[in-house]
């Protein structure tokens, strides 16, 4: 059984101001296997974030269903960790309390919370910063806290919505490498939304290319280049050319964006 099953998902947004409806996702049908690192790749506004929000349970589909481990998604839950585009940390909590927030909700004692959170603080390389508040940390560090927070819940799937989009190029590269290392070590299913072909090819072992609005699945490509991936190697460039061609077929403009 697939970890995530998307069954004929359609999402229509009502636009009451203009008295019309906007078809955002058109019949999305996709299976994601357990322990896959899937990158949802598509131009801005193609509905890839909406699709992720439907899997997370933040939004309902107009028709069709999303299933995680065979259970229909109806609301958000701690079986699905989400890493947001912005770190979205509680600004009044320190890094360690942000990471341990889900344990606090469950009523776990403070000492135990901190003990378990420290493991993930270490994993994302933030030891020494655990008692800092988000405002005292850089964007990249906060995003690490967000990743640690999602990992601590030990979710079946982790959903990431362009989490590195706001970071500078170098931090982005470091974070991508670390994310791959974490994924290899933790063996979880990751769905990663991005509009960058390079990012998708560096991270994913499966790349799902989406079309412009209304979002459909253009093609699902398995990509098993050994890791660590050399973005200058001929194999990488071959794959990039293939994916770019897919996108270009759809729209010449979206290729420039990527």
């Amino acid at each position: 059984m697939a970890a995530i099953e998307l069954r004929n998902i359609v999402k229509i947004f009502a636009d009451p101001k203009r008295g019309r409806e906007l078809l955002t996702l058109d019949n999305i049908d996709l299976d994601i296997d357990a322990n896959d690192f899937v990158c949802l790749l598509g131009p801005s506004g193609c509905g890839k974030s909406t699709l992720l929000n439907i899997i997370a349970g933040f939004e309902n589909s107009t028709s069709g269903q999303a299933l995680v481990d065979g259970v229909i998604v109806e609301r958000p839950g701690s079986d699905r960790g989400v890493v947001f585009q912005q770190p979205t940390l509680m600004p009044w909590l320190t890094a360690i309390d942000n990471v341990a927030f889900s344990l606090k909700l469950k009523g776990v004692a403070k000492q135990e919370r901190h003990r378990r959170a420290m493991e993930f603080i270490d994993l994302v390389g933030l030891r020494g910063f655990e008692h800092h508040h988000p405002a005292e940390l850089s964007g990249g560090m906060n995003q690490r806290v967000g990743i640690a927070r999602a990992l601590l819940m030990n979710p079946r799937v982790i959903l990431m919505d362009e989490p590195f989009a706001a970071l500078d190029a170098q931090t982005k590269l470091e974070m991508q490498e670390e994310l791959v290392a974490i994924w290899q070590k933790h063996r979880c299913t990751i769905v990663f939304v991005t509009h960058s072909v390079d990012e998708a090819l560096v991270l994913g072992n499966k790349i799902v290319v989406m079309t412009r609005r209304p979002g459909r699945i253009r093609e699902s490509v398995t990509f098993d280049l050994p890791r660590p991936r050399d973005i200058t190697s001929p194999e990488f460039n071959d794959a990039k050319r293939r994916v770019l061609a897919l996108i270009r077929e759809e729209s010449t403009r979206s290729a420039q964006v990527a």
Binding site: A56, G57, F58, R75, P76, G77, S78, R80, G81, V82, F84, Q86, T88, L89, M90, P91, W92, L93, F101, S102, K104, L105, K106, H133, A135, E136, R149, M153
Partner: protein, 283 residues
């Protein structure tokens, strides 16, 4: 990086700037008081109508410490009067804070409460609290209760409005993040919405503490027979304008001190905000 380079040589400059700034603060009040003293002593107006600052200070001193009974029955009774007013302020303010925050969170969070509760409250809001005095007196008599009721009315709406605003402007993604971590609605409200709304709630509380002092004094002029406002009004009947001014100064001072106390609590509770401001300025 840039800020680090700028900050280190700027430090000594900042210190001298600080000293001159501290002095600047006193220039206007000192000039005002000196001018007032000179004018009062010039004899242009009879001293009974415009007491000199020194006379006011004398009256205030006797009211507080009771050294020569120039303030007659009030001599040495300042602490009792201030406490009477302070307790009314505290009572009404505490009641308004608790109810204002509860109602504000309910209205800000839930459509149902917004639709059912808000129109009534918004209709009551423009009615000046002072206009409730006749009803407050016939309902509660002449004592603490009508005063606390008026203070409550004056303090409730600022807390309510700011709480609603704070709850409505909570970053939606924070609520999503909480739901993602398995928070129940109650946990969302207590652990995310309430703390996120706290900066806004505190600005409401600070407006409310000011209203609370204003209404305590107003109530004491009409509906109570003790407290700073009562002394002020009573002294007016006995033509003791020095005592009137001493009462005004006392109210201003206590109001200022309660705001200072509230600010100190706010600084403690919202300590996480300080770094935000500094960074926001630097960036």
């Amino acid at each position: 990086m840039t800020s680090a380079i700028e900050v280190s040589p700027a430090k000594p400059v900042a210190r001298t700037f600080r000293v001159s700034q501290a002095l600047e603060r006193f220039v206007v009040p000192v000039l005002l008081i000196a001018g007032w003293e000179t004018f009062a002593r010039s004899g242009y107006l009879p001293p009974a109508l415009l007491p000199a600052p020194s006379a006011v200070l004398h009256a205030l001193g006797d009211w507080v410490f009771g050294f020569d009974e120039t303030t007659q029955t009030y001599s040495g009774h300042w602490a009792r009067d201030a406490l009477a007013s302070g307790l009314r302020v505290f009572g009404g303010f505490a009641l308004a804070s608790v109810l204002g925050i509860l109602a504000g969170v309910a209205i800000g969070w839930s459509r149902l409460f917004e639709k059912t509760l808000e129109p009534t409250l918004q209709m009551l809001r423009p009615i000046p609290p002072v206009s409730w005095i006749p009803l407050a007196i016939i309902w509660f008599g002449i004592a603490n209760k009508p005063a606390i009721f008026l203070v409550f009315l004056g303090a409730f709406f600022p807390v309510l409005m700011n709480t609603i605003h704070g709850v409505k402007t909570v970053d939606h993604n924070l609520v999503h993040a909480g739901a993602m971590m398995g928070a129940t609605e109650r946990q969302l409200l207590a652990s995310i919405v309430f703390p996120a709304a706290l900066p806004s709630i505190f600005s409401g509380l600070r407006i409310a503490i000011g209203s609370a002092w204003m209404l305590t004094v107003t109530a004491e002029m009409v509906a109570v027979k003790s407290g700073l406002g009562y002394v002020l009004w009573d002294s007016y009947y006995f033509l003791r304008y020095d005592l009137v001014l001493a009462a005004m100064i006392s109210i201003g001072l206590l109001g200022y001190l309660s705001d200072l106390g509230l600010k100190a609590i706010m600084g403690r509770v919202l300590h996480w905000q300080r770094t935000t401001t500094v960074q926001g300025r630097a960036g």
